[in-house]
Amino acid sequence: MVQLNNGITLFFSLLVEAIPFLLLGVLFSSLLLLFVDEQRLLTLIPKNVVLAALMGGLIGFLFPVCECGNIPVARRLLLKGAPTALAIGFLLAAPTVNPIVFWATWIAFRDQPEIVFLRVGFTLVIAVLVALIFSVQTDSRPLLQDHLSRLMPAPVQPGEKPPGSGFQTADLLRSGTFLVQSPGQVVSLDAALVQTWASSSRSLRMRLGLMLDNMVLEVRELGAVLIVGSAIAALVQVIVPREVVLSLGQGPITSILAMMTLAWVVSICSTVDAFFALSFASMFTSGSLLAFLVFGPMVDLKNISLLLTVFKSRTIIYLFALVAQLTFLLTLAMNLYGN
């Protein structure tokens, strides 16, 4: 009975903590969908993959979302045709590299400022490296769930003009299924219907209405998934208590593993995790605290279900494995060589 109570408390605390940020992410996603012209967005993205990955990592300063809110935005970026490097860079870095999280970490670790700056630095390095690895995949559709890859535009080959860059009538020259409404008005049935309608509509009122509809749609879709993810995270925490995770070890190496496992299990939001980590500052090295602060926002148990709405499971395993190894490597180097 006590365990059931604990489980319910944990479940609701995770949900209450995550839902506002999911709403914020959905809001940004809808704004991107209806108010940002995809062609303009694509022209702003650097051609160089390193710069694109770095830009993805730094977009968090414009969209301050935690790890629950970044998934809808990353999904929208991919659907808008943004390069994989940018979307992955954003997905991994945005929950940490944003002003709210920076401020919260500063408040918690003011007397250890290196934790604050290394958290941002390590996150950016890992996000950019993983994004670069994923950028070898020019066609991101095989990485995504089938229902999303169907909505994605085909990748642009070198020397080829991006779709929509020519005359409007050129739409009919592309492959796919189209609905011809009246002369000059062609609706692609491959794209999201809302997006297509929005792009043809000029009325702000209509756009706002569509934005609200899209928000409701995304919240219903992702909110349900978040509830399942939170329930799983709460269940795991009841079955495997935090003390068991912490008892994995407190040495320079084992403490990193313990804190990474703890970060994965507790699934705490990146905006408040610094205060949670602060309570372990007396027992653990700076490296293991950083492992918690860097790994947790990128990978957590609650978000697997959300990520599964976007990526195939193979992609998620790759993401988790690379992020885990890189976090372990950087924080271990800090533990073994840092002063």
Partner: protein, 525 residues
């Protein structure tokens, strides 16, 4: 070809190999090798002290603890065994994570330099518990306590009516205020770098009625661990200016209101002044002068003598025949707020403990005909407990809580009958002051020093509780006034308050005179 079992287990459908697959496996293999190499190389991190809050600082009695922060969680026993302070400063060690807090058991003695050494220690993850091959970076640091110095109002020659700073160790003096100001009262700021004083124009007869409040710098450069004056200031604003002595600044003029008496809060942020409107004497009361805001009238009933409590947030004000405790922050509106507390029996507050838990108060026994002309010294705690410490026929002139132990220094005046001298003279009463201590635990009284007959004695206990200054009239005739405005001379004596550590008792010593004269000699904080 059938997909491998693990792919089926995690729900991965067979898909053609993508360019990403090969690269990810390759990178993961490389990272695994790097991790293995890193682990094989072993732990080379140096363990060190990251921060020591008193490093190179000059501390005072208000600083009760320093904090040492380590770069890693430490083996606490190894640190506690090896930490040394020279000369010794008794204290207690407590831990909060990687931080060690050392709380002094007694106020730090002034005028000394201390060295902190931690030459070896182990972190919690150290493989070698014997301490051999230690990777701890030895730590050494120094800090000092503030120098002893006192202020007085000069009475002789160039110093007459001017504020003077004295260095008792070097026996040197420095005049802080200009000739044209006649200093009446003063109070030093908490770090001793500035002094607030009231002064009138020395060319006018009614200087005491025309006093204005000024601030003057002493030239002392404070280096406190925490500077209250700089707290909250943005980093681009200049810090403390270079110390110059004698830099004068007018704090409160007397154009519309006469200034009568003032007090400065313990944190140096609030001044309370008793003022009266020049054109409307009914407009009389206490004003608050905050450090960063305009002065305002404290909305409460007018009162008499007052002092600001050690918390710097409340005022202890004599109202009617009792003492009211007034919140300085809440009494700013148009409607007078009720006092926080009112103690109807006590007509004077002589001193309050620095932590605000107890006060030494005087009961004039006006409601008890049997005790007429007797004064009682009572210890009143913030829990409402009242303990009578003394009852004297005469007056209680002053009291100071001892920062070193459970003692209260008290100066009382006992009435003595002087026999008639000659045929035309008649017998007279003279007040003979006496310095004594009262042990607050046992209530035992110890007489320390009898002083020549005089109506008033000014006593100042050094912040560390190790020395006392006494202003004693040198006229020989105790009936002569010691009022500074009367211009009479006054000797400054110092007492070395050596004590028996087993009984907490101060050993009586002979007072030593300073070779210069002055009034209201008071130690800098």
């Amino acid at each position: 070809m059938a997909s491998p079992f693990w792919r089926r287990a995690v729900g991965i459908r067979p898909t053609p190999t993508q360019p990403l697959d090969c690269l990810v496996w390759l990178v993961m293999a490389v990272l695994l090798v790097l991790l293995a190499l890193l682990m094989l190389v072993g732990d080379h991190a140096r363990v060190r002290v990251r921060d020591f809050t008193w490093q190179g600082r000059q501390v005072g009695v208000e600083d009760r603890a320093f904090v040492i922060t380590f770069s890693r969680p430490m083996d606490t026993a190894s640190v506690e065994t090896n930490l040394t302070i020279t000369p010794p400063l008794p204290g207690k060690i407590s831990w909060a994570g990687r931080r060690l807090a050392y709380t002094l058991q007694q106020p730090i003695p002034y005028g000394q330099t201390f060295r902190v050494n931690l030459l070896q220690a182990r972190d919690r993850f150290a493989p070698n518990k014997t301490g051999k091959g230690s990777r701890f970076q030895p730590f050494q640091a120094e800090f000092s306590s503030r120098k002893r110095a006192f202020l007085y109002i000069g009475v002789e020659g160039e110093e007459a009516n001017r504020l003077v700073l004295a260095d008792p160790a070097q026996r040197q003096r420095l005049i802080l205020t200009p000739k044209n100001l006649r200093v009446l009262a003063f109070k030093a700021y908490p770090l001793g770098d500035r002094v607030l004083f009231s002064a009138g124009d020395s060319s006018q007869d009614q200087g005491a009625l025309n006093q204005q409040l000024y601030r003057v710098t002493t030239g002392i450069q404070p280096r406190p661990p925490v500077d209250l004056d700089l707290r909250g200031k943005p980093f681009w604003q200049p810090g403390r200016p270079q110390p110059i002595s004698g830099k004068l600044e007018l704090v409160l003029d007397n154009r519309q209101y006469q200034n009568l008496k003032f007090d400065l809060s313990a944190d140096g942020q609030v001044i309370v002044v008793q003022r009266v409107n020049r054109s409307n004497p009914a407009d009389f009361g206490a004003w608050v002068v905050p450090a960063q805001a305009a002065p305002y009238r404290l909305n409460t009933q007018p009162g008499g003598d007052f002092l600001i409590a050690p918390d710097s947030q409340s005022l202890v004000l004599l109202q009617g025949t009792g003492t009211a405790i007034i919140d300085l922050a809440r009494n700013t509106g148009s409607v007078a707020a009720k006092p926080l507390d009112f103690l109807p029996e006590y007509g004077q507050v002589l001193d309050i403990t620095p932590d605000g838990t107890a006060a030494a108060m005087v009961n004039f026994n006006q409601n008890d005909p049997e005790k007429q002309f007797q004064q009682s010294l009572v210890l009143v705690t913030n829990q409402g407990q009242k303990t009578q410490l003394l009852q004297v026929r005469g007056g209680i002139l002053g009291a100071h809580f001892d920062p070193m132990g459970p003692l209260l220094y008290v100066v009382i005046s006992e009435l003595e009958t002087r026999p008639a001298q000659g045929t035309l003279d008649t017998a007279a009463y003279v007040q003979r002051p006496l310095l004594l201590t009262v042990n607050l635990k046992t209530l035992a009284q110890t007489r320390l020093l009898r002083l020549p007959p005089q109506p008033d004695v000014h006593m100042s206990l050094s912040p560390d509780g190790r020395f006392m200054l006494l202003n004693v009239s040198d006229q020989g005739d105790g009936l002569k006034s010691a009022d500074p405005s009367a211009g009479s001379g006054s000797s400054i004596w110092t007492l070395d308050l050596r004590r028996d550590t087993t009984t907490d008792q101060v050993l009586a010593t002979d007072p030593q005179p300073y070779p210069f004269k002055g009034l209201r000699a008071t130690w800098l904080p």
